[in-house]
Amino acid sequence: MDVNDVPQEGNRTLGVHRKALYAKDADGKMVIVPSRGSEVDETVTMQAVHRLHALAEAARQRVLAGKSAPLEYWMYARRMDVALLSQVSGVWQWRIRRHFNPQRFEQLPPRILARYAEALGMTAAQLKTRP
């Protein structure tokens, strides 16, 4: 890549930051060039963000329809899935799926609820609120 080819079209996912890319300058030497980001990066990052938003939104609809528990919504809202929440909270995946049942979720002992809350970085009371 040439110094002049370093993308600078801007990538809103970077916010105020710039990222360092390596490119060849006029003397043929490889140097670090700060980049405002490219459309390619923005496209793939936003695609990933949107996919997680869509999962959270679908979960929210299920919760509002009484088919799932707020736990499922908050899990996706924190950009996790069942496998990751299981790793972080130490609760087995099949148990987490069971806890998506609204009635079961209501009856969860405070001890388990606290584990989920800790994993998701929120309070147990927040975790119980409907999204």
Partner: protein
């Protein structure tokens, strides 16, 4: 008390681990660039690990696993690194304050998701981020995060959360610092042996590592259908290649910069020629990313076979390149 390592210099880098290692060693008087740290630790690689899933997609890495660069710095500089992990978060924070009070610059492994200064859209659950702490001001830690162009600040509660995040690659509060270094310059022999190691890794026999890994990924992409899920899969590959602090083209450009320096240190002109060749290969990776992004945006019909073809070309190019690299330092 507000301790601060006054003579510490923050330098912007492409990758968090090579950047942290470089800034830390430079602080101790070593003459070192990020590209040299990356090459000297033989960090360049390719790995396609379908059995490790990141929110549904396989792990695709263009470098060796976390901590490989830090450990790779030990021998060439006789660097006396100290690593400490903690069971209790409070103990981990106390130890950090203690080291800062001694005027040390301290490296940390953290999660990206819980760092407030990261842009919202970039915060994913990735636990092997590296940064340096060079001081404290009230409740705020002064942070040199190599992938941001300016130094940052982070409140202690947030930093504690980021250091003790759980899950895959959990940092367990890992902190590291340098007790001292035995060498401050790079030796030609260390450069040659690092290059040999990289060629060995890239041409190795394991089907999902190195050139064979690229071929395996190409085969997988060739079999994709044209669903939304496949588009997400392709986007995921590009994200791992371009977006996760790689300096462009999945670390190929950084390594090209390293080969230029290596040519000067070893006096081997073949390495400078190979640096140019790797630059072209890097451009090939960028073309792949661009093509994929156009398909995701719907500006071009989504044809997985076309993308797979480009990946195969990359595999052939790299196979030939690393063979030539191996002969150049033999």
């Amino acid at each position: 008390m507000n301790p601060i390592a006054t003579d510490f210099q923050h330098r912007h880098a492409a990758h968090c681990e090579s950047g942290s290692a470089t800034n830390l060693l430079t602080h101790h008087g070593v003459k070192l660039s990020e590209a040299m740290a990356f090459g000297l630790s033989s960090a360049l690689s390719f790995a396609y690990l379908p059995f490790i899933k990141l929110i549904g997609f396989p792990l695709i890495a263009y470098r060796m696993p976390p901590k490989f660069i830090l450990k790779g710095m030990k021998k060439p500089f006789q660097a006396d690194f100290r690593f400490e992990t903690f069971r209790a978060p409070e103990a981990g924070m106390r130890r950090l304050d203690e080291l800062l009070a001694q005027g040390k610059v301290v490296g940390l492994q953290t999660s990206v998701f819980w760092l407030p200064y990261f842009p919202e859209d970039m915060r994913f659950h990735f636990n092997a981020h590296n940064l340096l702490v060079y001081g404290k001001d009230g409740d705020d830690y002064l942070i040199s995060d190599p992938v941001t162009d300016q130094p940052q600040r982070c409140a202690s509660a947030d930093l504690q959360r980021a250091r003790f995040a759980k899950g895959a690659l959990a940092p367990k509060g890992l902190l590291y610092y340098l007790e001292g270094v035995g060498r401050t310059e790079v030796s030609p022999e260390a450069v040659r042996s690092a290059i040999r190691k990289t060629a060995r890794i890239m041409l190795g026999p394991i089907p999902f590592i190195g050139v064979r890994g690229i071929r395996m990924l190409a085969n997988k992409v060739a079999k994709l259908d044209t669903s939304e899920h496949s588009l997400n899969y392709v986007g995921h590959i590009v994200r791992m290649q371009e977006e996760i602090g790689t300096g462009g083209a999945g670390f190929r450009f950084i390594y090209a910069a390293f080969l230029q320096e290596a040519a000067l240190i070893t006096g081997n002109a073949k390495l400078a020629v190979l640096s140019d060749r790797l630059n072209e290969i890097g451009d090939g990776w960028r073309d792949f990313a661009l093509k994929a992004a156009r398909m995701i945006k719907g500006r071009e019909a989504f044809e997985p076979k076309k993308l797979a073809g480009m990946l195969s070309t990359q595999a052939e190019g790299e196979s030939e390149f690393f063979r030539a690299l191996k002969t150049a330092v033999a």
